[in-house]
């Protein structure tokens, strides 16, 4: 591992210094220094709004930097950049939304940049198809060239985007939040691709705020905060906690907060609940004031279980008791009336109505409480909105602003506010921190903890082991549609838990994962699922 600033004798892919950028009165970038060696995997880390995207846009010529900046790209000092020049030099950006074409085939997507141009030319479909096949070979990806892109899972679309960059002979690829919507095994696949690119001399800059993979793959990490360079660090001795602190500028508590709630009355009891093809014989309990994390791989049946609990689907067998009563919600409306709130995984598209105001989104599930005779009382509405949003300390201009104007973390809080307005007994949180900044995550879990203290039973569905470990009172592991393990956060460490869930690569890829013996960790705080509901 070289020290920062001396990365081998090769010509660096990128060496920038004194890059500043102002938008009106806002200093988006302030005298940034940034360098990437040829073939290096580098990480550009920082919270949303720290200037990561602006820096990429300066490098790719979308924004011009303030005078005084020095841009050295592949050994040549450039006075100014344009998007076309950046492309021709081999700089490619894979944006988080990938910018692909869903109804075109894989092959057409990979070769699309070849057909762009003002003057019409003959379209050489077969020739381009062959080139697409070649580049997929180089990438080691096996994709059907003729499949329409929209039929592919996100991970494979990402491979398409990478192949597209390689077809244009990219030597420096920026990847914007590439793992935000990937599962663990998909992420591993992507990291393998990135390693092979690096071995071929292609430099890759990861722009990410998921910390684990950053440390896993990058040689060095450049951290930005509020448009300023915090520093460039080798990843060798870096820890997640330290990196989080560098990004946020504050010390993040990463400790186990579990408490023993075994004396409390169970709020939710699930007994032998099954639904063919989704989950099988699931028994669990969540007590009043308890946070139970439900963790496991994508496809383990966790979201499906939640959908059955809120009446979106019907279980085939088994029973659910809520607060001591047998319940069987027939619709989401039913579940709300019973006191079950569900905050969905896909917060942006499903949880909120983006163009509508914050206030309207907050009250949408509880319209009958603020109205009479089908009309809405604006006085009661603003009272309710003020109370709920106040509780969650949402930073906002006006409750009448559109939800789309809020940051990811604050949108999440509005979703929480919306469901808290229904005064639930049980809150089901499905992957609440996907796409949320490290700093905002801490805030969300602080709220979740407060809600539990106030007596809510909370079922937290999460992929991230550390999230489960630090924020729950009990951890259930689901695999292949069954609950296969239970852990007390205080009695287990992240490595053990990770090994159990993601296991060895062979087990992670094997759908028959539930058949293996998983140690159940007996502990003070935990109860075996069966025992709790007996």
């Amino acid at each position: 591992m070289e020290a920062p600033g001396s990365v081998g004798t090769e010509v660096p892919a990128l060496a920038l210094s004194d890059v500043s950028k102002r938008f009106g009165g806002v200093r988006a970038l302030d005298a940034i220094r940034f360098d990437v060696a040829a073939g290096e995997v580098h990480c550009l880390a920082g919270e949303n709004g720290c200037g990561k995207s602006t820096l990429i846009k300066v490098i790719t010529g979308v924004h011009a930097p303030e005078p005084g900046a020095r841009l050295e790209i592949f050994g040549t000092v450039r006075e100014s950049m344009t998007p076309a020049l950046a492309r021709s030099l081999g700089i490619a950006v894979i944006w988080q939304d990938l910018a692909l074409f869903p109804h075109m085939t894989v092959g057409e997507n990979i070769t699309f940049d070849e057909v762009v141009g003002l003057a019409p030319r003959p379209f050489r479909g077969r020739h381009l198809r062959r080139r697409a096949a070649d580049v997929l070979d180089r990438l080691g990806a096996s994709l059907d060239l003729d499949a329409p892109l929209h039929t592919l899972p996100i991970a494979q679309r990402q491979e398409v985007a990478i192949a597209r960059a390689l077809l244009g002979d990219a030597r420096l690829i920026f990847m914007d939040e590439p793992t935000a919507s990937l599962t663990q095994s998909e992420t591993d696949g992507l990291l393998a691709v990135v390693r092979s690119l690096s071995a071929q001399g292609v430099a890759v800059v990861f722009v990410s705020h998921r910390l684990a993979e950053v440390l896993d793959i990058a040689r060095r990490v450049t951290v930005l905060r509020d448009g300023k360079l915090v520093g460039v660090y080798p990843t060798e001795h870096m820890t997640q906690a330290r990196l989080g602190e560098l990004m946020t500028g504050q010390s993040l508590e990463g400790s186990v907060t579990a408490r023993d709630r075994s004396h409390a009355a169970p709020m939710l009891e699930v007994n032998g609940l099954s639904r063919t093809g989704e989950f099988d014989d699931v028994s669990l309990a969540v007590r009043t004031g308890e946070i139970v994390a439900l963790t496991g791989l994508i496809g383990a049946g966790r979201t499906e279980l939640a959908h059955a609990l809120i009446g979106m689907t019907r279980a085939d067998r088994g029973g659910v008791r809520l607060d001591g009563d047998d319940v069987q919600p027939r619709s989401i409306r039913d579940a709300i009336d019973l006191g079950i709130a569900y905050v969905s995984e896909d917060r942006l598209s499903l949880g909120l109505i983006q163009p509508q105001s914050i206030a309207d989104n907050t009250v949408i599930s509880t319209l009958e409480r603020i109205g009479a005779y089908g009309l809405i009382s604006s006085r009661r509405k603003s009272a309710l909105v003020e109370r709920r949003l106040g509780e969650l300390t949402v930073k906002l201009g006006s409750p009448e602003d559109a939800v789309s104007t809020l940051s990811g973390g604050n949108q999440q809080r509005v979703v929480l506010a919306k469901w808290l307005a229904t005064e639930p007994k049980l809150l089901i949180l499905d992957s609440p921190t996907v796409g949320v900044d490290v700093g905002a995550r801490v805030g969300i879990f602080r709220i979740v903890r407060e809600l539990a203290e106030a007596g809510l039973a909370i079922l937290l569905i999460t992929d991230e082991v550390t999230e489960a470990l630090h924020n729950s009172d009990r951890i259930l592991h689901m695999a292949g549609g069954r609950i296969v393990g239970e852990y007390a956060p205080a009695a287990v460490d992240a490595e053990t838990l990770e090994a159990a869930i993601y296991g060895r690569a062979d087990l992670a890829a094997d759908p028959g994962v539930d058949s293996r013996a998983v140690p159940r960790v007996a502990s003070g705080g935990g109860t075996r699922p069966g025992a709790a509901s007996a």
């Binding site: 075109m104 141009g117 499905d430």
Partner: protein, 333 residues
Amino acid sequence: MIGRTRRVANRITVELRLGAVLLVMCIGLTILSPQFLTLGNLTSLLNNNAVNLIWAVGLLVVLIAGGIDISFAVAASVVQYVAFQLLEGMGGGNWWLGFLVAGVLGIALGLVNAALIHGFRVISIIITIATFNAYFGLLMFFSGGRYIYDLPDWWRDRIFVFEREMADGSWAELNLAVGVMIGCTVATFVLLRLTTWGRQLYAFGDNPEGARRAGVNVSLMQALAFGWMGLMAGIAGLMQVNITKEIVPNALYGRELEVLAAVVLGGARLGGGKGSILGCLLGVMFVAVTQNGLNLLGVSPFAFQMIIGAAILIAISTSSIDLGRRGVRRAPT
């Protein structure tokens, strides 16, 4: 090349399905009505639908590019009227001048749409409803709604690209409009599938932001799509006069929805990025055969409207079911 056959079959599922339905309908009609499968009936089917087909391939380009056009039928009427005035001024003109004038006028009207859409960043349905009303209002104002019968001879003369005397002494003929329609169809096919412009049109309709970031010239695409639609509208207007031998200012008013329905039926996606010439032709012919069949069977013309409405509902709902089955959404947790 089994792989290639499968590839093509996958790409044109909607077209294959519509083609099968059309084939079944034709077989049924052949059994039910002896007149259906006669050369005379089939040629008149083509003659009667040549104008719709020319519009349809133009509209297909606009739909693929993610737009919609409501104004093209009225634009064709405007072209007829203005072209007549201009050609009179040139001393009557001829076919070459006719194509030139109608084509240029059509392109100009299409570019007005493109410029308004691009300039004001307003979605195309709003702009083209506005130009639909504006074009029609101006046309009725200046023409006073008067019919024009006094056309130059070249424009009125019947020209056949195919004719054959039948056993009963009647003639089966294909008129010039059918030949022109075939030319327009081939030209549109070349544009869409064999040039880089075509790929960029599909991409622009599929993901405009992605296309813009890839360096696609967005205003060029907009101008290309609506200019092409305008060109087709102008040519269709020219041909329609040749068939009816008169210019009636409000004759084409309302035809736009019929054509739009047929193109959507043929698998073009409202919202862009998807659609084919084959589907477009099948869509128009499906509508035409339905109408023709109902006529031959003596069914009320109102039944036709209902059937077309139902067919559109079925076509659109089944194709979106397909989307769901192919797993557009990622598998949930």
